[in-house]
């Protein structure tokens, strides 16, 4: 009978991805490019928020977008209509983007001519939270119709983000979404998160969000 030995490992499960993400982050920092990763459920308004943000930033920064999708390029086409370079990553089933995929996409962009890269991650509140993309900041969107209980169901997502955009506030009057209760739930998971209430439809609240983004870019790169 052979002897059983225990080997101490003590490594993060996703150490490879974490390391690659750190490399991506450092490389972009050196190149003076700020990368923002946006995560949310399908239909919560990721593409809408990106389009609003790009329009607000015209003349301020030169942006590109990395679009994650399981198997389509509709969102990249919308971005391209704004004359912004877009890379569509079709993951063929994978439910998240990881640092390896992002690196591939960055290699296809003319990075010297950019100040900002926005990632639209795959639409769900679970998997993308586990995988560091190498972005300087993580933001998530929760739209009012999804309900104020989501921090209880997807705590990890709320705990890893630097900013939370509460979208579709034009629906507030029609729903039982309790903004105060929602904010308290989020703060307990993540006391440092910046929260913005916006409507991508009416444009309400967008300036505050864009201001935050500009501040983060200046702090990170300047």
């Amino acid at each position: 009978m052979q002897e059983v030995n225990v080997i101490e490992v003590k490594e993060e499960i996703l150490a490879d991805n974490d390391k690659r993400a750190a490399d991506v982050r450092e490389r972009l920092h050196k190149q003076g490019v700020f990368m923002l990763n946006i995560m949310a459920s399908p239909g919560s308004g990721k593409t809408s928020l990106i389009l609003q943000t790009l329009r607000s930033l015209k003349g301020h920064s030169r942006a590109a977008v990395i679009e994650g999708d399981i198997d389509s390029s509709v969102d990249a086409e919308k971005v391209a209509k704004e004359e912004i370079p877009a890379i569509q990553l079709r993951t063929g089933g994978a439910c998240h983007l990881d640092a390896f995929m992002i690196e591939k996409a960055l290699n296809e962009l003319d990075i010297d001519k950019l100040d900002l890269v926005i990632i639209e991650n795959i639409g769900n509140l679970v998997c993308p939270a586990e995988f560091d993309t190498g972005a300087a900041r993580n933001a998530m969107i929760l739209s009012v119709p999804e309900g104020d209980d989501k921090p209880l169901k997807y705590p990890l997502m709320f705990s890893v983000c630097d900013a939370l955009v509460v979208n579709k506030i034009d629906y507030l009057g029609l729903s039982d979404f309790n903004m105060q209760v929602f904010r308290e739930r989020v703060r307990k998971l993540n006391p440092k998160i910046s929260i913005f209430e916006v409507s991508c439809k009416t444009g309400e609240g967008i300036p505050d969000w864009v201001e935050w983004l500009k501040e983060q870019m200046a702090a990170k790169i300047g």
Binding site: Q2, E3, V4, N5, V6, I7, E8, V9, K10, E11, E12, I13, L14, A15, D16, N17, I70, S73, E77, A80, K81, E83, I84, P85, A86, I87, Q88, L89, R90, T91, G92, G93, A94, C95, H96, D98, M101, K104, A105, E108, L109, D110, N124, V126, C127, E130, F131, D149, L152, K153, Y154, P155, L156, S159, E184, R185, K188, L189, N190, P191
Partner: protein
């Protein structure tokens, strides 16, 4: 087959020497501002005159939308590296610590593991998962207490009823050790 491709993340159809996955001859026929194209066949409908879209397609996977697959790949890789360094012949058990903020299904993890570890020294190894509860610390009295996020809605300190609490554990995602022969 999909496994190797996934790890390699090859840009679909890339041809050495051409800019982006399309043969040189085809490339020059595309609008100048096209960044990249994964599948030449898609060129006609994907690239309109002014748009600048690059498309990178990753290989289809056998399994659908489950991040347990990617997680399992990582576990297997790390475990094999350590076992090989120790010149072990067989991995019997892998001890993991996973915080309960992560939504990982034990059953799927094991199933993916069984599939991916076939014909390796980790074949038939058991994943032993220690779930770490979410623990909060009270900002008022310093008490720390575990809390089931999914069942209760109001997080409150059991000691002083304060609600200024901070999450101190529950985000672990860790390989502790492996048992080998």
């Amino acid at each position: 087959m999909y496994f190797a491709n996934r790890l390699g993340y090859d840009v679909h159809g890339r041809v050495p020497g051409s800019p982006f996955g399309v043969p040189e001859s085809a490339w020059s026929a595309l609008p100048a501002n096209t960044i990249s194209l994964a599948k030449y066949n898609d060129a006609a409908d994907k690239v309109s005159g002014r748009s600048r879209i690059g498309i990178i397609t990753f290989q289809e996977q056998v399994f659908g939308e489950m991040h347990e697959l990617a997680v399992t790949e990582s576990i297997l890789k790390v475990a094999l590296r350590h076992a090989n360094e120790a010149k072990a012949e067989k991995i019997i058990r892998i001890h993991l610590r996973i915080g309960c903020l992560s939504d990982v299904s034990d059953e799927w993890l094991q199933r993916y593991f069984d599939f991916l570890s076939k014909d390796s020294i980790a074949e038939k190894a058991e994943l032993s998962i220690e779930h770490v509860p979410a623990v909060f610390c009270c900002g008022d009295c310093g008490e720390s207490f575990p809390f089931n996020l999914r069942e209760m809605s109001n997080i409150q300190c059991p000691q002083c009823k304060g609600s200024k609490v901070t999450l101190i554990s529950g985000r672990e995602y860790f390989i502790k050790d492996i048992e080998v022969m």
